[in-house]
Each structure stands twice: as C-alpha cells, then as structure tokens.
Symmetry: C2
C-alpha cells in the first residue's frame, strides 16, 4: 500500500450525524483524529471528534480553514453542495471522489451509469415536465413510484402511483423538481453489499445482508442473507464492478433486489451505510474502520465475519425499547441525539443469531 | 436496575490516557458524553471526548467546575490524590468508591484486606526503616522483591533481591518510602479476572485471561487461560468475593498466580485493566462498556465470550509492527499518542485464535 497517512493524521468528515460519529470512533481506533464539519449545532459526531467546525456549506472561509486543518476529507452523506466540494478539493483529496458523488446525487445519472455497466435496474423514465410525467406514467405503468432526482433519502421526496391517473398529483407535489418514475419490480427481498476499495484497486466485500424496510426506512438487516451461492457471488462481483468503474476509494452501500431474473440494483450510496452496521459486531474490522482504512491508504480488512448478526434500527419511539434491551446481552449503539422525533434514527442494536 | 442515568448524561473521567480514551468511546456507544480531567496537555482521551479539562489535581476551582459539569465520576488510574477526591466526592458520586481506591493505592492495605477475606497472597513484610528492611529480608528470604507501598505500576518502584545482602541497597533506593517486601511464589503462570459489579450487587466476570509479562509490563493476554474447571470457578468466585466486600461499583482487574496450592492474589486494580483489552474483540459488551454500565446504573453484560482472543500490547518500538499488522485481519487499537518512548503503551492488537 503506497503512502498511508501517519499516526495522528487528521481525517476531515463532512456531516456530524451518527455515521460521522461512528467514523470518528473508528478513526480513533487507528490512532487518527477526526475533524467534523457540520452546519447544525451540537452534532452527535462532535461528542467523539477531536475538532468540530460549525459552519454552513456556503461559508467559504470556514471550508478553507477546515480543509487546511486536515490531511484528507471524506463524508457521511452524499448530498454535499457542489460549490463546497469545488473549494475543498482544491486543498485536500476527497474520498470517495467527485464522480461517485455526482452519480449518487442524481437518480437519473445513477441509473444511466449502472445500465451503462450492463447491470439491471428497475424500468425508469426521466420526468422534467407535466407532459413527460404523463408519458412516463403511460410507458412505465403502475404501480410505480415518482422520486426527485436529487436530495431524496429514507423515503423522502417520493410519491407512489397506484393508477396512471395519480401522476398528475404526484408531479405537482414535486413542485417542478426534475424527477424519475421508477416501475415496481417483482422482487422476493432486498439485500445489500457493503463493498470497499482502496486507491490501488484492492476490493473487499462483506457478506450481503438482507434488509427489511418499514415506511421507507431500513428496519433490520440480517446476515447471512437468503441467497444461493451463485446469487451471493453475483452480488459481490457486481459491487466490485461498480467500484472499479468509479475508481472508487472508500466504502459503498449497494442495495439489490433479488428477483427470479437475477439481481437488480436499487440504489448505491457512496458512504458507510445503515445496512452495514451489523459489521460492528459481526466482524473485527467494521465498515467504519474499513472506510477509514481506504481513505487514509491502509490495506483493507478482508470482510470476514466471525458471527451471524441481526441489526435492528431504533427509530423515534423505539428508544422506549432501550430499558428492555439493556437487560439483554445485545450490543447497543446509541447516537447521543438529545431529541427523539418520529422517523429519526436514534440508535441500533446488533443481536447475535 | 434503579435510576440509570439518562441518554446524554455526562461521565467525568479522571485521567486522559488510553484507558480513559477507550472508556470515552464506550460511553459514546451508550449515548453518553465523556468529560476528561487530565493535567497533561493533549491527552489521548481528549481526541474522543466531548469535553476536556486540562488542570492539575491541586486546582480546586477546576475540580469544582469539572464535578459540577458531570453526572458521575470515574477514573482510569488509582493513584488519584486524596485531596482531589475529597473535593470531587462532595459534589458527585465517584465509582468505584473510596474504599477500593484507598486499598489499591497502598500495597500493604491491599494485602491486609485480601488476607482478611481469607484469600492467599504472597508472603510479605512491612518495611519502613533500615532495621525493618533487614528483619524482613531475614524472615521473607530470597528471591524476593521490595516494592514501594504507593504509586508503583508497570514494574516501577520495585527492586529485586537475589540475596539477603541486596536489601541494604534496595532499601536505600526507596529513599525512605514505606515499602513492602514480597516473597517470590512458585507459580506456573498468571491469570487475571476482569470482574464487574453494580450498585445493587449484580456481579459479572469475564473468563480469566492468561498473562505474560515482559520486563514488568504486560506483554500478552490469552483467553481462554490454562485453568482447570475448578480453578476457573475459584478465580471467578474470589473476584466476586473481593467486589462484594468492597461494595464495589465498576470493573476491577484481579491478577492471580496459579500454583500447586491454589490461586494466590497478586494485585487488584480498581479500574478497567490492560489484561481485559481482549474483550473488545472477544465479547459484544467489552470491559470498557461494562465499566460505564456499572457506573451509570445500567445492568451488566453477562461476560459471555463469542471468540477466543490473544491480545498483544504494542509497547514503544513495537509500533514498527503496525505496517505488517495492518496487512492482516487482526483488530488494531492504537492510542493516538504522538511520541513513541521505550516502555510506553502505544496500542494493542487482538488476534482471533
């Protein structure tokens, strides 16, 4: 491995939520320091970071100071304003790189990239006008789902179509935001592959996990997933193909639908992923450490799993389960968020199965 | 469990070394914040703590502010000045409590406490004068080892006697510090039990680990240790007996010599212990989380182990092993210390065995 960053190096992390928090902890385990950049006050990651910059992504001076104070930059979410990235990348390397960010920030680009690799995605149509909306509803049919091209996550910025006639209202709800209509897929279940790649092309994948969503938010991930050996191999190979095509550095979450006709790529996320939290108790080198290793030029762990795990998210009022959960030997991971809100990810728990 | 501290509570930790660092990380996992009190600048624990107070243990105003900013106080080392504890305990609870600290700060008190419980310790004699030194050397014989009663750790403040005539020089080296002469024990190996207790008397022990020391510093711990089922049970029971006798709250390290005549207590440490670092990769609830759980009034993990582990310390120049170790899948834990010094604990590595 060429030129790993030395002990005590500073990792700049854009975003101070739970993913930034767990990245900061993983960095500490490798003797590295984390500097969080986050517009919101008192971010969860700030509690475990060496430094925190509280500033907007429009604050050019703050972006400059942040970049100059660190050795490398990474992020916990993909919707970072392009103008901020333009400033930061002049000063320090950003991993994963701009191409992965650009693709994952835009559902249309993502689908075109994936189909360009020969991978299967759900039928889709670009929607930028009422006329295109109508045509898309006719060609894709129903049930289908209209999603904004940009800034959607955890089921936000989405509207389901039961009938073609639902399109009018759905398109109006998008308020003119460029969107994509996705056809439904007849899939048996969803799995995801947490894959990692270093700058010199080493790729390592964890075993796929089986995801259950609830109201558009991940509810649980179970490892191992229900997959044949051939499907498992396919999943890992296609993840590697995506990472190599992007000359990717870091961890990526690749969500896949399992169908009778093979695996269909649902979505990619150029970052550590909620469906990879099981690795904290299933592996010695978890996805957070794996990401930091890639970003600072260390070799990757091989993704080997010592235990089978079911991860369950603790969302909003699920925090009421904590008193009962702490009576068990399950591994609790709480995010230090002061306020419980419906739909807010407050923590997760890893059960040995 | 009565009155566990709520999410977001502040844990005050006296000492900012690697133990404080790993305690802070464990606190974060439970949604809690850590505030480190440490006289030295840039402590390793500060990199992952929510707050750091840099002040001397003589700074009464700083001690007041620190105590008032936290909900409960714990520590990573036992040699905390009594005057500081007097101030802190007026303001917030300190766990583990004063009795455990007083005993472990003084080798003589410790031995008297242990023998008072009916436990075996090495033959010993109190040495406070040249005359007592001479008498002790005669009664305990050689080989033996003269240790200061207070402030010794990692082989410091110790002198070995090969012959009775060595005592004169050894006692002079102590410069009048009250000391204890310990007779050597014919033991096959050393094990340690990492035990924990809550305020309402729940006790949990991890399986004993087998320790190898090198030049007075722990070199490795291997779990499971070489012990018969009866010895394993003895080890755990005597650890529980010690914790109950002290009405102890938190994690304690109990070092034991294994001899043909049974287990002999070498030393107790009222804190998380280097010989318990294997729990980070052998258990879902590691010793650091276990300690935090006890201190904040959560129920304990039951100490169950999912994997067999060999922990090796990385001391001083052992850091040269890091490039090779990071090519393996071993779990590295580095402490973020900027300067490598001979004998300085820089990190450790947990190997799955």
């Amino acid at each position: 491995m060429s030129n790993p960053l030395p002990q005590g190096a500073n990792i700049g992390i854009l975003g101070g939520g739970q993913l930034g928090r767990m990245l900061a902890v993983a960095a500490s385990r490798l003797g590295l320091k984390a500097h969080i950049f986050e517009p919101g006050a008192n971010p969860p990651a700030g509690q475990v970071a060496d430094q925190v910059t509280t500033a907007s992504y429009e604050d050019e001076a703050a972006l400059h100071r942040f970049a100059q104070s660190v050795d490398v930059i990474t992020y916990e979410f993909e919707n970072i304003p392009t103008s901020a990235l333009d400033i930061l990348e002049q000063i320090r390397p950003i991993h994963p790189g701009r191409q992965a960010l650009a693709i994952s920030q835009d559902r249309l680009s993502e689908k075109e990239f994936l189909t360009g690799l020969g991978l299967k995605v759900a039928p889709y149509a670009n929607v930028t006008s009422a006329a295109e909306a109508e045509a898309a509803a006719q060609s894709i049919g129903t049930p289908s789902i209209l999603k904004t091209r940009r800034m959607g996550y955890d089921g936000k910025g989405q509207d389901r179509l039961k009938n073609v006639s639902d399109m009018k209202k759905a398109w109006q709800a998008m308020q003119g935001a460029p969107s994509v209509l996705e056809g439904f897929i007849n899939f048996s279940h969803e799995v995801s592959v947490i894959a990692a790649r270093t700058s010199d092309g080493q790729v390592a994948c964890y075993d796929p996990g089986e995801n259950v969503h609830c109201e558009g938010i991940l509810h649980s991930t179970t490892v191992p997933a229900t997959l044949s050996a051939a499907q498992r191999m396919d999943a890992v190979l296609l993840a590697g193909q995506i990472l190599n095509a992007l000359d990717y550095v870091g961890v990526m979450g690749v969500e896949l639908f399992v169908t009778a006709d093979g695996l269909i790529v649902n979505e990619i996320a150029p970052r550590v992923h909620n469906s990879g939290h099981w690795t904290q108790n299933g592996c010695d080198i978890c996805q957070f450490e794996q990401h930091i290793r890639a970003v600072v030029g260390w070799p990757l762990g091989d993704g080997s799993r010592h235990s089978d795990i079911r991860m369950e998210n603790l969302i909003g009022a699920d925090m009421e389960r904590v008193p009962e959960l702490r009576e068990t030997n399950a591994a609790l991971h709480l995010y230090g968020k002061s306020e419980i809100k419906p739909g807010r990810k407050m923590g997760h728990v890893n059960f040995r199965i």
